[in-house]
């Protein structure tokens, strides 16, 4: 078992590198920022996580500290992805991603509030 651990670490590093490569390819090619965010969020959990676990495969201190880094990144990456998506929604998207047919750039809150009594 002890001589098998470096090979498991190698496999985990290769898996992490492949996921990171696919993820940066997705960020490069996706036409919309929301889809780019989807591709970039994969890299945090499934790209960096296996590499950090592989780093601590033969050392308990590195493993504990790597799990700390993984836990912190799992906690913070959805928050930062949500912040980027929210600011893109407020500035550049302007609600056109959900309803591309409505050409009038009115505020969606007031428009829906005006429509709601008529539908009900």
């Amino acid at each position: 078992m002890s001589e098998l651990l470096p090979w498991i670490a190698d496999a985990l590093v290769v898996i992490g590198l492949i996921v990171l490569t696919i993820s940066i390819g997705g960020v490069w090619r996706m036409p919309d920022l929301f889809r780019s965010l989807h591709a970039a969020s994969i890299a945090t959990a499934f790209g960096v996580g296996p590499i950090l676990i592989a780093a601590g495969m033969q050392n308990g201190t590195i493993l504990l500290r790597g799990l700390l880094v993984v836990g912190f990144m799992l906690l913070t990456s959805p928050v930062s992805a949500h912040a980027i998506a929210r600011s893109f929604w407020r500035t550049e998207s302007n609600g056109s991603a959900r309803a591309p047919s409505t050409a009038a750039p009115a505020q969606p809150e007031s428009q829906s509030a005006a429509d709601r009594p008529e539908r009900a």
Binding site: V13, A40, M57, A83
Partner: protein, 88 residues
């Protein structure tokens, strides 16, 4: 991990960081630039992890943890400032 895997992984992640820098410089909007910069930071954390595993030292992971923390705060502040013109 074996040393040949350490060398190849280091080279691979450095190439990916170069691609991320190109992605940051060629971005067409501020949000995409923030996203690419956060991605470069994620790749830097992966590079620190590979160094911690290859050189068998846990000191690299302290730098990785600090980098993750500062990247989170920086992304949050930049994204909020780009849309609202204020940070909080």
């Amino acid at each position: 991990m074996h040393s040949i895997v350490f060398d190849i992984a280091t080279l691979w992640v450095v190439i990916l960081i170069g691609l991320g820098v190109v992605l940051t410089l060629r971005a067409d909007s501020v949000m995409r630039r923030i996203l690419a910069l956060e991605f470069v930071t994620t790749l830097l954390i992966a590079l620190f992890a590979i160094f911690a595993g290859g050189r068998n030292s846990s000191n690299y992971l302290d730098a990785a943890l600090m980098l993750a923390l500062l990247a989170f705060v920086g992304t949050l502040a930049a994204a909020r400032f780009a849309s609202d013109r204020r940070i909080y």
